[in-house]
């Protein structure tokens, strides 16, 4: 699957004169009213000291709108600490959480590359599938190369198929052999075969 491409996080404003004190906003993160929690999460944009409090609530927040606001605020920091704190949720049992976290990580091109060696080597192949989804939308010059590496090396067909799906929008004729090799590695995978056979005519100009 791919992710909805989000706009790059906006730079924090220099001054937010009407913003409540940070302590007040942190307290509001535990307010029973989701609108209040959402307002607090957005109000804590660019407050570095609020990062641990926000990260601690990502796994427990049950309102999707509040969670999205928290992730938007956190992703704007784009630091390795935040990315690492978010990446642990890629194994969550909650589909909404792991998908939202993946979407947030896809907007963090400065910090996510440092996580990639571990993500690409994750023993849980579902984490590696999610990594392919992140790379599909990550605005980074090496995203294509990482996807190629996944296609060439990953032992699980679902990961390879996910990486191919992520690569296809930017694939060129130069990637045709890569796709053929992937199909040869997993000759019994029907969806991988379909994906490659559907893409090759376009890549090679024989459509």
């Amino acid at each position: 699957m791919g992710l909805v491409r989000k706009q790059a996080p906006q730079q924090p404003e220099e001054a937010l004169p009407d913003r409540p004190p940070v302590e007040t906003l942190l307290a509001q993160l535990d307010d029973p009213d989701p609108d209040c929690r959402r307002e607090a999460a957005l109000g804590l944009a660019d407050i570095t000291t609020a990062v641990p409090d926000l990260l601690a609530r990502v796994g427990t927040e049950d309102d999707p709108r509040v969670l999205e606001s928290m992730l938007t605020t956190l992703a704007a920091h784009d630091t390795e600490d935040v990315a690492g704190g978010l990446a642990v949720h890629l194994t969550s049992d909650e589909a909404g959480l792991r998908t939202a976290v993946a979407a947030a990580l896809a907007t963090m091109p400065r910090s996510v590359p440092a996580l990639l060696p571990n993500l690409l080597a994750a023993p849980d192949h579902d984490v590696r599938v999610m990594t392919a989804m992140i790379l599909a939308d990550l605005q980074h010059p090496e995203a294509h190369d990482w996807l190629v590496r996944m296609i060439c090396q990953d032992p699980h067909p679902n990961v390879v198929t996910g990486a191919i799906d992520a690569l296809l929008p930017s694939a060129t004729e130069d990637d045709a052999d890569l796709l053929r090799d992937a199909m040869a590695r997993f000759p019994d995978d029907p969806f991988l075969r379909f994906t490659v056979n559907s893409a090759l005519p376009r890549l090679t100009g024989t459509a």
Partner: protein
């Protein structure tokens, strides 16, 4: 399956990956189903409010509205469909299938799903519709 459009079972394929939608669409269309597509759970719910489907084939990990929430909404009063739902995902951890069934799915399959199996399952799950018609 009959090729008569008026009696063909209508399937909604819900997946954010265009290649997956294309794959499932081509398999089911070739088998005689009338296939529509939705790119996420929200689109699926919207489509279900304006049209009736005899079967849903739903991915789990999707933006905007994930598969579990989608199925729960399809089963809720918002949509209220009793049509069978097949969830298909890469997730094969313990509990994933239980989560799907709790949401209201009739079947949980782990990718990759062989084409003939998907068609077989779709035919089986829509057979009641034909008998009831």
């Amino acid at each position: 399956m009959t090729s008569d459009t008026a009696t063909r079972a209508r399937v909604l394929v819900v997946d954010d990956a265009a290649t997956v939608r294309l794959y499932h669409n081509s398999l089911l269309s070739e088998a005689g189903f009338e296939v529509s597509e939705a790119a996420n759970g929200l689109e699926a719910v919207e489509a279900s409010l304006s049209a009736e489907f005899d079967l849903y084939v739903v991915d789990v990990n999707m933006p905007k509205m994930n598969g579990y929430t989608c199925v729960e909404t399809l089963r809720s009063e918002t949509v209220g469909t009793a049509a069978p739902v097949v969830m298909i995902s890469t997730e094969d951890r313990p509990g994933d299938a239980d989560r799907a069934y709790q949401a209201g799915a009739n079947l949980y399959l782990v990718k990759p799903v062989a084409g003939d199996r998907l068609v077989r399952v779709a035919t089986m799950l829509t057979a009641g519709r034909e008998e009831a018609a």
